[in-house]
């Protein structure tokens, strides 16, 4: 279009550009419903999250009296209470420890397995790959009771190391699935070059292939970290004592006790403590995460 309108020989240049402008305006007008609906949907989400954050700084009385107002005095004490009396300092420490140890252990054992499954040819490879990935279809609920029996025999009920083992084991199918997808895409020549340069198989994996697959490790790491940080079903079953509660389970029990405590602002502060870290991570990495979601489902 630019080429046409700069052509001086074109007689009706002026009328053409008005037509272009009209077309643009018409396009904008037809897009108004799209903007409107998308904005409403997005606004609702932001509003609800923002409302909870702001309400976590109110007093319990304000929650009921001035629903849509800002707090008169910002009650930072809600967080101090949640932190010390509500034990959220402990819960946060447990969540951080549980999530980071589980993700590290998970990647450490899943990456070599995914590497071998995706790059080596050997008898039974397909069978093993399918077996590894099949776990994605098995609901956690099915294994809860047998797993409880196994873990209690091993004396690993009600402690964090036991929970880490469970998190690692149950996350292997998804993680191997994601990582094989990444290892498959790496060019064969790099492996050959590493061997020619005198790397043994382990060195090739550790120094060449693993660094190249780091985007995959990051994707698998983020998804598992968010999943483990957020999940409460397994902690509910396998963590009986208060000492080992995570943020998710702490918030669950806080929510459960609401009918006795009526501490709305404490509850909302708890929501913010568990929600803000994942939202921040998402703001930084949203493109990568959204790309990760579509991996596998969309070829």
């Amino acid at each position: 279009m630019a080429a046409i309108s700069t052509n001086p020989n074109l007689p009706d240049q002026a009328s053409f550009s008005t037509r272009a402008r009209k077309a643009r305006i018409k396009k904008l007008l037809t897009q108004i419903p799209a903007y409107l609906i998308l904005s409403l949907w997005s606004f609702f989400t932001i509003f609800v999250i923002g409302w909870v954050i702001i309400s976590s700084f109110k007093t319990n009385a304000e929650i009921f009296r001035t629903v849509f107002d800002l707090p008169k005095v910002w009650q930072f004490s809600n967080y101090i209470n949640a932190w010390s009396q509500g034990n959220f300092a402990l819960y946060l420490r447990n969540s951080v420890f549980l999530t980071s140890a589980s993700v590290a252990g998970l990647l450490l054992i899943s990456a070599p397995a995914a590497y071998v499954l995706s790059r080596f040819k050997f008898i039974g490879r397909n069978f093993l790959t399918i077996t590894f990935i099949a776990g994605m279809g098995i609901p956690y609920s099915l294994v809860l009771i047998p797993l409880y029996v196994i873990m209690s025999r091993l004396g690993l009920i009600n402690n964090l190391p036991g929970l880490i083992l469970i998190y690692i084991s149950l996350s292997i199918p998804f993680t191997v699935y994601i990582l094989t997808g990444f290892f498959v895409t790496l060019p064969k020549e790099l492996e050959d070059a590493a061997v020619i340069d005198g790397c043994n198989e382990f060195q090739t994996f550790w120094h060449v292939m693993l660094p190249l697959a780091s985007p995959g490790l990051l994707t698998a790491g983020i998804f598992n970290a968010i999943g483990m940080w957020n999940e409460y079903q397994l902690v509910l079953v396998f963590m009986g004592n208060e000492e080992g509660r995570t943020l998710a389970l702490g918030l669950y029990s806080l929510q459960n006790a609401m009918q006795y405590t009526g501490d709305w602002v404490g509850l909302f502060a708890g929501v913010c403590i568990i929600m803000v870290p994942t939202i921040v991570l998402y703001v930084i990495l949203s493109e990568k995460m959204i790309a990760g979601i579509t991996m596998g489902a969309v070829k």
């Binding site: 997005s42 849509f68 079903q233 009918q259 708890g270 998402y282």
Partner: protein, 297 residues
Amino acid sequence: MKPRASMIILFLMPAGLFYLALFLLPAAWAFYYSAFDWSGFSDEMTFVGLGNFVKLLTTDPIFWSSFGNTLKIIFVGGFFTFTLAFLLAMLLNSGIKGKKVFRALIFLPNVIATIALTTMWSFAIFSPRSGVLPNFLKLIGWTSASKFLWMSADHVFWSMLIAIVWINVGYFVVLILAGMDRIPIEFYEAAQLDGASMIQQFFRITLPLMWDVLTVSVVLWSISAIKVFEFPFAYMGAGEDPNLYTIGVYLYIMGFGKRQPIYQLGYATAIGVLMLLLIIVVSIFVRRLMQRESLQY
């Protein structure tokens, strides 16, 4: 490169052992436990064969109502989730500015802990006195609607379904959009030249060319709807309302109880076995039902 067997074994071993011991073995063990009447974590187990399944399917009204709720989530929830996800994906793809920002915001609930989302919906949105929704309706003068009881026994399941749909729409918008983005723009330009309407374009181009993505999405939705536990179990805070039971919640209640332990371990495991069978049947059924000649382009 010729791999050594020892290296293959060494690399597969750690993940394989964990997976086998703490996932596959318990899953297989579940089938064994489901054949026993077993209350409490004691050693007293009575073999009942298929007795648990017979009891579940013939004499347990709570199982059937939980199963009914699971089906409502799959079908009613699925209908609204996919309708809205398609609508939003198409709006996002209509050449608007800020597509990525809108997409990121629509997806946002999926990174927030389920327990935080249940708190939001039951204590910040639907709550009769302090909730955002009733107060907003009151503010705009729609008093009758503002008195609607979202959390009463009749409505609580459906209000929960609204929340579940809201979360999942974001996830499926991302998948559907990725499927749509693969379709070459020339197809639409050609169709527009031939005078095809938007609706025709959707049914003749968009839908057929992303059928494989839709199939995967429907399978993923069904599996996650069958498994669902965290949202209904914590919705409204109490978790004791049978109106909200899904098979996942009922399994937990039978196995571990809520405040009073029940410990019907064999019975609960039988529900888990049914859940797995349901997942397998639905996955095969959806794939068969949606099977079409795949289009290459």
